[in-house]
């Protein structure tokens, strides 16, 4: 097949770097509010009926939302195999915790209302809380570690060796980014509940959501400050070949300088953190003022800005190695082959618009607030 050479390898790599961002942001925008609702559940809903209202705001959609996460994993595997191999095996115990939480979550949604017992339901409420809060925290911890560099190296055969430990992941900077990520998704869950949940649940969600919006803003600013004064970046020391074979060991990389140097080189990327900050401020104000649709949109804006800040700051780095910078994974040396990237792009161009269209249709069908009355009168069919 010669067709794939219509698009340069280098261009395809940048497209797939962008698509990776699209998938991760898509995940945070959709499944993010499911997780936020899970993490908020014990606080915004006290009685069983209130909890069912909160749960049923995401009941019909969490399954589709979660596919953003599955597809994100699949796309990392298919488009960035070395990233998939290094990060999933390196963060082994952390990934297991995420997995356990994400296994409990769907089951909790589905099984909670299938029996009446108080203990049964409370147990699943805990599962929903863990299934929301733990992944949200760990994803942020992972981002914090990626920014610092991760202790891995490749052998000559490109076998990844990871030399860190689980507790090494829990360093102060990573905990800061972890809490920021948690606050960000709680903010999003709060904005969602204020739109979708009727009555007292929505009101409480506005209060907690606004705290979380303030917290995520503060965390984001602190992390930025930390990047400016306390953390080294990474840079190529050999001329980067952008269309060569995907072998990280072919280039030279050194630790040093600041990640924020990217903003001097490409000043336009400052738009991302600005959007993140403006979004968080608007969400805070919107929740306080009780605006609904526009608040959910501003929460989305905040998430978009914050996540894309990380990607744009690090470009072209994806996963730097702290013990062997030469092994670092970048956009130019850790992608799939030219043909695979092309084939997958074609599949994405065909299916992504369809996915967005039918997802939008489903949300439209489900438009409107979930009320206690609705839950009570459909007690056998809703969650």
């Amino acid at each position: 097949m010669i067709l794939h050479e219509l698009i340069d390898f280098e261009v395809l790599r940048v497209i797939w770097w962008l698509l990776l961002g699209v998938l991760l942001i898509g995940f945070a925008l959709t499944d993010g509010f499911d997780m936020g609702v899970g993490a908020l559940l014990p606080f915004v809903a006290k009685t069983d009926l209130e909890r069912r209202v909160a749960i049923n705001t995401v009941g019909p959609v969490w399954e589709g939302n979660q596919v953003w996460f599955i597809l994100g994993g699949g796309a990392i595997f298919a488009a960035w195999p070395p990233l998939y191999a290094v990060s999933f095996s390196g963060f082994y115990m952390a990934m297991f915790l995420i997995l356990a939480a994400l296994i409990l979550r769907p089951v909790a949604f589905k099984y909670r209302s299938k029996r009446d017992g108080v203990r049964w339901r409370q147990t699943w409420d805990w599962a929903l809380f863990i299934g929301g809060a733990v992944p949200a925290l760990i994803f942020g911890v992972a981002v914090g570690n990626v920014l610092q560099g991760v202790p891995f190296r490749f052998t000559e055969d490109l076998m990844p060796l990871y030399e860190g430990s689980f507790f090494g992941l829990l360093n102060p900077f990573a905990l800061l980014t972890g809490l920021t990520s948690l606050a960000m998704l709680i903010m999003h869950g709060g904005a969602w509940l204020s739109l979708k949940a009727d009555g007292v649940v929505g009101e409480r969600a506005r209060v907690y959501g606004s705290y979380a919006a303030a917290g995520s803003l503060l965390g984001f600013l602190l992390a930025g400050l930390w990047l400016a004064i306390g953390l080294d970046g990474y840079a190529f020391t050999s001329p980067s070949v952008t269309d060569g074979p995907s072998n990280p060991l072919f280039s030279e990389v050194a630790k040093g300088g600041s990640w924020l140097a990217a903003y001097a080189e490409r000043p336009w990327i400052a738009i991302a953190p600005v959007l993140g900050i403006v979004g968080a401020v608007l969400t805070f104000l919107g929740l306080r003022a009780g605006r609904e649709v526009s608040t959910l949109l501003s929460s989305k804006l905040a998430i978009f800005g914050m996540i894309s800040s990380v990607g744009l700051t690090m470009f072209p780095f994806i996963l730097p190695s702290s013990i062997d910078p030469k092994s670092s994974l970048t956009v130019w040396d850790s992608s799939s082959s030219h043909l695979t990237l092309f084939v997958m792009l074609v599949a994405t161009v065909i299916f992504m618009p369809l996915i967005l269209a039918y997802t939008a249709w489903v949300y439209k069908v489900l438009w409107g607030k979930v009320t206690e009355e609705e839950v009570r009168s459909n007690t056998d069919t809703v969650y």
Partner: protein, 534 residues
């Protein structure tokens, strides 16, 4: 290479994959059975069919969610426990997984919510469309997963790239239209349909025995038996199709399944029964059916099927060729940008056997240092343990024929005997419920264990595919999965039984007027009071 980590990782993968496949086949088949029932409802307007759709839909939901939850483990585990595999073949293997997400899983998961929550929010045809989209999404999902798995059995459309040290795709078309993948797909989804049909049949038979919900049960049996008969025939016929394609790509697996120690003159006989003895390389008390194997395996009377001894010799030849390839690869790697022309030429000639050189890594670090004894041992390693394959295969096939018999019987009684099922037949249907799961798990066992010692046939040995993890790490996660999965299994079974005992929601009166008649007869005489509420 830490062999304990390899073994534990294999155990974890086998356990999580087989657990995942407890839920998948029922999802595949039940989604279609439900869609059929709802189609009848929309076409006839008879509320009993809506009640059936909702009732089986509830059981579908309890099952579906665990399939989704445990599927996440499958996708993550390649990276977590098989990182060299992920690096080495991700370029080829990852693509179908990603397309699965885009094309199938999104469809299935987005609409499954509306299936449960959309009854009052959609028109009848709108809801039916949603149900069919869930069924189609589930089945497409299986297609792409089996394309990925088919590539592990028969790695076509890819080539090793010495510069990136991995397999890279050369033809997406070849990967998708891999004959092994296509045969596996139809065989696997058919097995899922049989599973669901046996499940619906068994649960309905239990209702008839208890004389509860008989209207729902009889109609469900009619659907399950006709759907199940077609599927049971297809699973055996198309299983034969995968038996045929296996001879091209995985001769060793076939030889092991058949305990064919030596090449026989064509057409080979089929060993119906016996006790394989790996040490002595013979099968005790064997009962042979003349010609059968040659006909199934090659569809000819003249083509030979190689036996295990011959295949070990082949492997030894390929290992020697692989050592040459490995040497050439090392020369290329010294200065990848200016590789010596002779090394490149040598690698082009022998590169396809590189995987066989990796088999030596169990014994020596550098395959070029291997002794004659190492080579002989590595060649011997290409023989999987025969007796479990021999027996697993035979039990699976036996069950496959049993399903045809049972489904044909129920189809006959449902169609021509006015649904008067004798009680022993109903008891048999109840007892049969676990059987399709046993057959399906054995089928996967044959497919995956039979591929050993490879993760990707002839390309990458299992022992080399694992992540660089400590034994403690893998032991912790293995114990964690066992604990979590056991608890969830008990909870799931408890809910299934509870909701089967509870029966359908009573939003439709039991149809008193038409009891005892076949659905074809009752459809002609709609009872009053059963007109839909909408």
């Amino acid at each position: 290479m830490d062999l304990d980590v390899v073994e534990l990782s294999r155990l974890q993968f086998a356990m999580t994959a087989m657990y995942h496949f407890l839920f998948v086949p029922l999802t595949l088949g039940l989604s279609i059975i439900i869609a059929i029932m709802e189609t009848v409802y929309v076409m006839t307007n008879r509320l009993i069919w809506r009640q059936m759709t909702k009732f089986w839909g509830t059981l579908f939901g309890i099952n579906f969610v665990l399939g989704v939850a445990t599927g996440i483990t499958m996708e993550f585990q390649f990276g977590m426990n098989w990182s060299y595999y992920s690096h080495y073949v991700g370029d080829v293997f990852g693509a179908p997984l990603a397309v699965e997400g885009l094309m199938a899983f999104f469809l299935e998961a987005t609409f499954v919510g509306l299936f449960f929550f959309g009854w009052d929010k959609l028109s009848k045809v709108g809801h039916l469309t949603v149900t069919w989209l869930v069924a189609i999404g589930s089945n497409f999902s299986a297609l792409w997963i089996l394309i990925a798995n088919g590539w592990m059995q028969n790695p076509v459309g890819a080539q090793f790239n010495p510069l990136s040290m991995r397999m890279e795709m050369t033809s997406f078309y070849d990967v998708v239209f891999n004959e092994v993948a296509q045969a596996k797909f139809v065989h696997t989804v058919s097995a899922g349909y049989v599973t669901a049909a046996v499940f619906v049949l068994g649960v309905s038979a239990w209702y008839l025995l208890k004389e509860r919900h008989t209207e729902l049960a009889r109609r469900s049996i009619a659907v399950a038996a006709s759907f199940g008969l077609a599927s049971a025939l297809s699973v055996v016929v198309l299983g034969d199709e995968s038996g045929y394609s296996v001879t091209h790509s995985q001769k060793m697996k076939l030889a092991a399944i058949e305990a064919m120690w030596e090449t026989e003159p064509a057409p080979a006989s089929f060993t119906a029964f016996g006790f394989p003895d790996q040490e002595a390389r013979e099968t005790h008390y064997a009962i042979h059916i003349p010609y059968a194997m040659g006909l199934i395996g090659t569809r000819s009377l003249t083509e030979e099927i190689p036996g295990i001894a011959e295949l070990v010799e082949d492997a030894e030849t390929r290992i020697r060729s692989g050592i040459i390839a490995y040497g050439a690869l090392m020369d290329i790697r010294k200065d990848p940008k200016h590789a010596p022309a002779d090394a490149t030429a040598l690698f082009e000639q022998h590169g396809k056997d590189l995987g066989f050189a990796y088999l030596l890594k169990r014994y020596v670090d550098d395959p070029r240092d291997a002794t004659e004894a190492d080579i002989a041992k590595a060649a011997e390693d290409t023989v999987p343990t025969v007796w479990p394959l021999f027996w697993a295969f035979r039990i699976m096939v036996g069950l496959g024929f049993a399903f045809i018999g049972v489904m044909a019987y129920f189809f006959f009684v449902a169609s021509f005997k006015k649904m008067t099922f004798p009680r022993p037949a109903l008891y048999l249907a109840v007892i049969m419920i676990p059987a399709p799961w046993i057959a399906a798990e054995l089928g996967w066992f044959v497919a995956e264990y039979g591929r050993q010692p490879w993760t990707v046939d002839g390309v990458l040995p299992t022992a080399l595919s694992v992540s660089h993890l400590s034994i403690t790490q893998v032991a912790i996660t293995l114990a964690g999965f066992i604990a979590l999965y056991s608890v969830l299994f008990l909870i799931e079974m408890g809910l299934m039984i509870k909701y089967i005992r509870k029966g359908p929601y009573l939003d439709v009166p039991e149809t008193a007027g038409v009891s005892g008649s076949a659905p074809s007869a009752s459809r002609a005489a709609p009872a009053a009071g059963l007109q839909p509420a909408e």
